[in-house]
Assembly symmetry: C2
Homo-oligomer: 566 residues x 2
């Protein structure tokens, strides 16, 4: 009996269809079958917040190819010779007999199907808080097409006035923007002390300030204790500290849990992270079973540890690897993640790649060095916009461990550059003379990325003695207050200032006004300006004139996340 | 006698002031002096085209710090303790006595000045064609503040109706846009067969098509033979082929010549490229003399050869290196260039890094492999814009040699990613699973950059058999015409088509309509679609069904630089 190789893929969102398509391209003779629980296929789920927010109105754009063909079973059959069965839930995997059992959710029909190779792409499920009231109407997530349709209706109907977003991560923040654009009064509620935990606190705080400036409320360090309701409908949320906030809608976005039940029940190994264990070929503990996307754990390329990284781009790349390996031999490998992520939040973007300072510390890096740089992305005459970057390196080796960037400027390009540098194993010295595409419509002559490395280089060499905004904030409250020097111009000072007891001496006047500086040459002095470039020059002037304890507040006023006097 | 170290910098545009500032920061005791021939200092000369084009109106923005302080001698003295003498031309360098002679262009006063270390940053001079008529009024370059002022007046006065831009390089193209935005009828005249020679022909042609679509005229493969005039004023240009074009203004932008006379007269070594020879410390053949910016030659990091790379970003980086080395010992090195460049041209950007196919060939690379990828930069629902990338790699090692990208999309980010990959010595396999910042406002789930590497990987593995638009164009004209297959939908075909004798069979129908394909299974078949993703799938279908000579036209219709039927 001739036997056609059969590759069965469980899951039809991102990683699954990619695996199926790649397998088909490599083996035209194989049967390639997708079993998809949902009624839709290949949904552009990362696009849901933008559909809800009204960036576009045509729902089909989430489900169609760029030329407007719906990615339905007919499309998969005609264009790719892939059999895609929707509304088909796989209920179990029998590895011994190489079969999966399934259940048609519309007809109730059940059946089993043999496989030669199986690809599990079952995704993840939004986490729900274990509190009373989760069954009330008006509580949703933003994970499925159905959720997107519901929230889009909320937008279009304009009935709901107040909503709470539970969770201040990527999806929470994107949802906050989407609903705020729909004219709804939003409160983001985050249990942890900050939004966007892939950022260190001070950068997350800059994002939070921006969200507040856009009239969304933000509550951090306070979890949700109960959903409150009347007649089965949500009427408000109660926080851990007892506060009650009225709202008719709550969107829960406190992370996702990998869908591993099928794999687990079949005896496939699950990792300590809760995701399916896979090797570099995206192969599970069963050599005939691959797994990809949000249901697996992956290797962090810097720490070597297993992590969950439920990102759409990685799902696609993993699908491509598993599809090839399932169709042939284990030819290709997936190297893991450096957890690069980005989100848009109103006029800001916030991105990160590699390790933040706090994640580096959690992962046992003991001697890290960080620096914050604030500068525009382009020249002022080309309407450059602010970027604030925090770079993290290994002090001993100079190896770049991570970078975060927030602001209205071109964050995406900055993070892409850092991601490439980290994946190349670059040290600081490898970046300082980077040859990047420069012209005024695109960047400064010394790009923000390179300038960040310059400051880091100066800091490593002991020339730039930086101090963080957080340390300055602490010191200001202490008894032994440092001498604080703002070296901007009087006009700038009039327009905006910290009001933390600073003295204003413009850089250009400093050499002539040294008599106004502390007599005690050992007194701690902290210099800054708008972005602390002039602050750095001032510190060098003071050091050259005998002051021994001079520091520069990194990022200057632009990186100050606390309230300003003006 | 105590002797203060004196560092003298000749040139006050980009590299010179950067070297001076860096030297000052490292040595507060040294005398740091800039001798600048021009009356301005630190001009943002890369911004001139945007001032001329009306992107901004405040001339001071080219001469001021971001906070509005003019970078004049007073600023340098107050903020940086640097003595900057403007209108001061250095006339000779006497290396034996460690002195420079100078001449005040306003007062006529002359003098000599001792130096301990000298930094030459004399820049470059625009090349002028050796033809009659160059002395006519109405002929200019766009190199100095004076030129910018002149052309801005042309814009504001709205008297001039027709202008010629001589030279289709970076500056020529930027000037073309600037003058076209001023409402002037422009003709760009380029001696070579294409604009922007850092691009390979087919990508340059896409840019040319865009320039034409913006109603600017382009003449390639035809040099200028004579400037025509009346009463001392330009009235037209005469081309090598005899054509005469009337115009009242001509902007010459056919490249620059390094200003090396001072160095040469002083016996400092000049390289074969015509630039001052420097080592990795930016040190000339005289250990006490450094040189930086447009007047030097630099090492190409891929070929190892010396090249001229007159870019503003490199000038700044070199200045930083020379400034440090002049102030202390030879501490830091400059690794050279990969000739990364970018320009904006109307709604397109055009960028390149590393080697083009033609430059790789010129540099002796015998076995290169190239691929063209066309795709949007973001999803359609986020209004993604087209990018067309050509990637060049070493076939044997897979090492990335270069990439070019043009189109209305985010070219700058693409080129930055390639530049980092090349500087990291990446091979194709290092890119295919890159972890980049993905969210719909910023990129596709599989970024254009990664997708380009995927196609290259498939091509190297023999799965993707690409053919260039140029080869297809040749073949169509030949006797032994291949079978040409467009696999888009009928609507798409109705809207836009090549009209090169193609047969339309949509991909989704192909498997059922194989009987319409050539009977001869050895007949050459060329598949394409809009961007050749469906074209690739079609080729795999045909191969799986026995056709043996199937190719995919790289980049599809979006990369087709020739006239279309529709």
């Amino acid at each position: 009996m001739t036997h056609k190789k059969r590759i069965v893929v469980i899951g039809g969102s991102a990683a699954g269809p990619k695996a199926a398509a790649k397998a088909r391209r490599l083996d035209n003779d194989a049967e390639v079958i997708i079993l998809q629980k949902d009624s839709d296929l290949s949904m552009a789920s990362c696009g849901y917040p933008y559909y809800v927010g009204g960036y576009f109105d045509d729902r089909n754009m989430l489900l169609c190819t760029p030329t407007g063909v719906t990615r339905d079973p007919q499309f998969y059959l005609n264009a790719k010779a892939i059999e895609a069965r929707t509304n088909t839930e796989v209920t179990s995997i029998d590895r011994k007999s190489h079969t999966v059992s399934y259940n048609n959710l519309l007809t109730g029909e059940t059946g089993t199907m043999e496989y030669d190779k199986l690809v599990i792409a079952t995704g993840a499920t939004p986490r729900m808080p274990p509190i009373p009231g989760t069954g009330l109407k008006g509580i949703t997530t933003l994970q499925s097409m159905k959720d997107a349709d519901f929230l889009r209706r909320v937008r279009d109907e304009k009935i709901i006035k107040k909503a709470a977003v539970i969770g201040g991560g990527l999806i929470g923040i994107e949802t906050c923007e989407a609903l705020q654009l729909a004219g709804i009064e939003i409160t983001v509620i985050e249990l942890l002390p900050q939004l966007l935990t892939f950022l260190d606190w001070e950068l997350a705080k800059l994002v939070e300030n921006h969200v507040r400036a856009k009239s969304a409320n933000v509550i951090t360090g306070n979890g949700i204790a109960e959903f409150l309701g009347e007649d089965g409908h949500l009427t408000g949320v109660k926080l851990a500290n007892g506060t009650e906030l009225p709202c008719e809608l709550a969107v829960v976005a406190i992370g996702v849990i990998p869908n591993v039940r099928l794999a687990k029940d079949a005896g496939i190994a699950i990792g300590a992270t809760g995701g399916i264990e896979v090797n570099e070929y995206m192969q599970t503990s069963d050599p005939d079973v691959y797994a990809v996307g949000d249901c697996v754990e992956t290797t962090h390329r810097i720490t070597g540890k297993k992590v969950l990284a439920p990102y759409g781009d990685l799902a696609n790349l993993q699908g491509r690897v598993a599809g090839e390996n399932a169709a042939s031999k284990n030819n290709v490998t997936f190297p893991g993640t450096i957890q690069t992520g980005i989100c848009k939040v109103f006029d800001f973007s916030a991105g990160s790649t590699g390790l933040s300072a706090s994640s580096a510390q959690k992962n046992g890096y003991e001697d890290i060095i960080t620096v914050i740089n604030a500068s525009p992305d382009k020249p002022g005459f080309m309407e450059g916009l602010l970027l604030v970057t925090k770079m993290v390196a290994d002090r001993r080796t100079g190896k770049i461990l991570g970078a975060q960037c927030v602001g209205p400027g071109n964050v995406s390009k900055q993070i892409a550059q850092w991601a490439m540098a980290i994946q190349g194993g670059f040290i600081v010295e490898d970046i300082v003379n980077s040859d990047l595409p420069y012209a005024p419509p695109f960047s400064l002559a010394i790009d923000h990325f390179i300038a960040t490395a310059h400051i880091m280089q100066n800091k490593i060499k002991g020339r730039f003695k930086g101090i963080s905004v957080m340390e300055v904030h602490e010191k200001v409250k202490s008894n032994d207050k440092p001498f604080i020097l703002d070296v901007r111009g009087p006009d700038e000072f009039e327009e905006m200032r910290l009001g933390i007891g600073e003295t204003l001496i413009p850089l250009g006047a400093l050499r002539k006004r040294l008599n106004e500086m502390p007599e005690d040459k050992n007194r701690e002095i902290i210099c800054y300006c708008k972005i602390s470039l002039r602050g750095y020059e001032a510190a060098l002037v003071l050091e050259a004139n005998g002051w021994k304890n001079v520091k520069v507040m990194e990022g200057g006023i632009m990186a100050w996340p606390y309230t300003r006097e003006k």
